[in-house]
Amino acid sequence: MTVTDTTRGAAAVRNAGGVVIRLPRTGASWIVRPRSVLVSLLLAAAVAAAFVVEVAFGELDLPLPDVVRSLAGGGDPTTALVVHSLRLPRALVGLLCGAAFGVAGAIFQTLTRNPLASPDVIGVSAGAGTAATAGLLMGLGSGLGIQTLALVGGLGASALIYVLAWKSGTTGYRIVLVGIGIAALCTSATSYLLLKAGVYQAQQALMWLTGSLNARDWEHVGPLAIALAVLLPCVVLLAPWLGGLQFGDEMAKALGLPVQTARIALLAVGAGLVSFATAAAGPIAFVALIAPQIALRLVGVPGPALLPSALVGSFVVLAGDVAGRQLLPGTELPVGVVTGVLGAPCLLWLLGRSNRTGSGG
C-alpha cells in the first residue's frame, strides 16, 4: 500500500510491526507486512496448484507432469491439444474471473464501508443477469452475443446507479441504497422473464445466472484478459485513494483526497471488472462477497487487501470448478453452486475464530 506523507503517522501506528520501505526523494513509501507477504505467497501457490489441477482433471484425467510440460509449451501433441483447446481457456476464465470478482468485491465493500455491499447486492450483476437472460430467451447461444449483452447490462446498471445517486456529489450510502433499488428492479425483470419462458429455457437461464465455466473457450478469455490488463493496473494506481476512502468522506477529505473523483474512478473500475467477469462466466455466486472477507481475515489488516482478495477469488473459483466436476460422478455442477457451498462454511469458520468485531472494511 502506498502511503503519502500525510498519512504516514497514522499508517505507521496502524501497521505497527510492518517494515516501511521509502523511496529516496520522492516521498513515496510502502509498508511491507511480513504476514501479508506470507499469506499472499501461500495464496499464490494455492492458486497455481488449483490451476494445474483444473487443467489436469476432467472427463479425461491427464498426469500432472504432462500438464505442466504442455503448459510450458512442450509435451506430446494429444495432451497439448486437450490442454490448449479445452482445459486452458476454462481454467483461465476461472482464474481471471475469480480475481476480478475478488478485487471488485474489495473495492465495493471498502467504498461503501459495508461488508454486505458486493456487486451481487447492489445491482451490477443483476443488470448483467437481466440482459443475459433476455438474450438467452431470445435464442442467442452462450457466445459473443450473450457476452456483449451481459457487459452492456452490467455497465448500464452501474451507470444508472451512479447517475441516480448523483446529487451535487454522491455518498457511499446513497450509492448502496440506489443500487439496491436497481438490483430489485433487475431481479424482478429476470423473474418475469423466467416465468414467461419454457421450463427448458428457464433452466438454461438459471444455469447462466448461477455462473458456470462449462464450455468456455478462447472467445471468452480474450475480452476478459484485455479488460483485466487495463483495469488491474488502474486498481493499483487507485489503491491509495481507496485506502483513504475507507475512513469515510470527512477523513478522506481531511487527508487531501479528491473524494468525488476518487469514488467515480473506483466505481467505474469495479463495475468494469464485474461486468467483464460476469460476461465471461455469469455472475458466479458470492465470490465477490466472500473473497474480500476471507482475505481480510487471513491477512489481518484493517484496510482493503486487494491482492489477497484477488488470489482468494481465483482460488475459490478454480477450486470450486474442480470440486464441481469431481463431487458428483456423472454430473458437472456449475461452479456457482459450489462456490456458495464451499465458500460459505469457510467464511463462517473464519468468522467464528476471529477476534475482529468491526464491519470488516
Partner: protein
C-alpha cells in the same frame, strides 16, 4: 410474558430516553403523528376496499360494502368472499409482518441493507419448498407451507448460532455476515436441485416470485398465531432498539441487556418473516424499503418506525396486488414483481430527496 416484556421495556425506555430528548421537538413530532397515523389508516382502509372491489370483474364499492355485511348467493358475493377477501387478508397480514420484520432486522444489525431475507429466512424457506416439491413430490401449496416455515426457522436459528459464536456474542456485523454466508450456502443448494430437476423449477419459479393467492384461506388461520406472537414481541423490542442504535456500550450503560434484546428481536423477526414467507413466498423489497420509508417519515425512533412499517407494509403490498390485477387484465402479474416495479422508483426518488442518516 410478551406483554409483560412490553410493559417493562416501555417504562424503562421512558425513564431512560426522556431526559435526552430536546423538549421543544416533542409537541411538533406528536402533532405530526396525530395526523399521519390516521392518514395511513385511512389509506390502508381505502386500499382494502379497492382490493375487494377491483379486479378482472370489478364490483361497485357500495355493492362491496353491502356484500361484506350480508353475503348472498350471487356470483359477485362468491367473488368477494371466496377470492378477494382472503387475498386482501393475506396482503394485510403479510405486508405488516414483512414491514415489521424488516424494521427489526435493520435496527438489530444497524445495517440499511438488512431485510428479512438477510438472516437466511427466504433461502431457508426456498430450500424447504424445493426439497418438498423436488424430493418428496408434494406439489399442493398446503403441503409445503410447513416445510417453508420450518426451513425459515432452521435457517435463522443456524445463522443466530453461528453469528453469536466466538468473542463478543451476536454483533451486527457478525450476524449480517453469518446471514449472508448461510444464505449463500442454502441458495446454492436450491440452485443445485433446480438445475437438475426441471419439474421442481417449473413450480418453484412461480412460488419464489411471491403471490397473495398461492395458499388457500385456511392456511392463514394456521399461521396467524405465529405472526401475532412475533408482532407483539417486535413491539416490545422496539424501545430497546433505540438504545441499541446508540451503540452497544451506551445501551448497556442505559441498563439494556444487549444480548437479550438481540435474542428477542431475532425471535420476533423469525416468527414474522417465517410466517410471511410460508404464506406468500419470499416477497422481496417490502421488508427492505418500508422501514426505510418509515424512517424517512418519522426520524430515528424505532417505536414509530415499527408502527409505520406495520401500516405502510400492507399498503404497498395491497397497492401492488391491485395494480398487478389491473395492468395485465384478464391475466395477473405476480405481486412480488409489481411490488418492486412500484416500490423501486419510489424508493430511489426518496433516497435522492432526503438527506439520509446512517444507521
Amino acid at each position: 410474558m410478551a406483554i409483560l416484556c412490553f410493559v417493562l421495556s416501555s417504562s424503562q425506555n421512558r425513564s431512560a430516553a426522556s431526559p435526552v430528548r430536546p423538549p421543544e421537538t416533542v409537541p411538533r413530532r406528536t402533532c405530526v403523528h396525530l395526523v399521519a397515523v390516521p392518514v395511513c389508516l385511512i389509506v390502508l382502509g381505502l386500499l382494502c376496499l379497492c382490493s375487494i372491489a377491483l379486479g378482472t370483474k370489478s364490483i361497485a364499492p357500495e355493492r362491496v360494502l353491502e356484500l361484506l355485511w350480508s353475503p348472498d348467493s350471487s356470483e359477485e358475493s362468491g367473488i368477494v368472499h371466496q377470492m378477494r377477501v382472503p387475498r386482501t387478508e393475506f396482503g394485510l397480514v403479510v405486508g405488516a409482518a414483512l414491514g415489521m420484520a424488516g424494521a427489526l432486522m435493520q435496527g438489530l444489525t444497524r445495517n440499511p441493507l438488512a431485510d428479512p431475507g438477510l438472516l437466511g429466512v427466504s433461502a431457508g424457506a426456498s430450500l424447504g419448498v424445493v426439497l418438498t416439491t423436488g424430493l418428496l413430490g408434494i406439489t399442493a401449496p398446503q403441503g409445503y407451507v410447513w416445510f417453508a416455515f420450518a426451513g425459515a426457522l432452521a435457517a435463522i436459528a443456524l445463522v443466530y448460532a453461528l453469528g453469536s459464536a466466538g468473542k463478543g456474542g451476536a454483533t451486527p456485523a457478525k450476524l449480517a455476515l453469518a446471514g449472508a454466508a448461510v444464505t449463500a450456502l442454502l441458495q446454492s443448494l436450491v440452485n443445485a436441485v433446480l438445475l437438475f430437476d426441471a419439474a421442481a423449477l417449473g413450480d418453484f419459479r412461480f412460488w419464489v416470485v411471491g403471490s397473495l393467492t398461492g395458499q388457500p384461506a385456511e392456511v392463514l388461520v394456521d399461521v396467524l398465531p405465529f405472526i401475532a406472537v412475533g408482532a407483539v414481541l417486535a413491539a416490545a423490542t422496539a424501545p430497546a432498539l433505540n438504545s441499541l442504535a446508540l451503540g452497544e456500550g451506551v445501551a448497556t450503560a442505559l441498563g439494556r441487556n444487549v444480548g437479550l434484546v438481540r435474542l428477542r428481536g431475532a425471535a420476533a423477526a423469525t416468527l414474522l418473516a417465517g410466517g410471511a414467507v410460508a404464506l406468500c413466498g419470499p416477497i422481496a423489497f417490502v421488508g427492505l424499503v418500508i422501514p426505510q420509508l418509515a424512517r424517512l417519515l418519522t426520524g430515528p425512533d424505532h417505536r414509530w418506525i415499527m408502527l409505520y412499517s406495520a401500516l405502510l407494509g400492507p399498503s404497498l403490498l395491497l397497492a401492488a396486488d391491485i395494480a398487478g390485477r389491473l395492468i395485465a387484465r384478464p391475466d395477473e402479474l405476480h405481486v412480488g414483481i409489481v411490488v418492486t416495479v412500484i416500490g423501486a422508483p419510489f424508493f430511489i426518488a426518496l433516497v435522492r430527496r432526503r438527506r439520509l442518516r446512517e444507521l
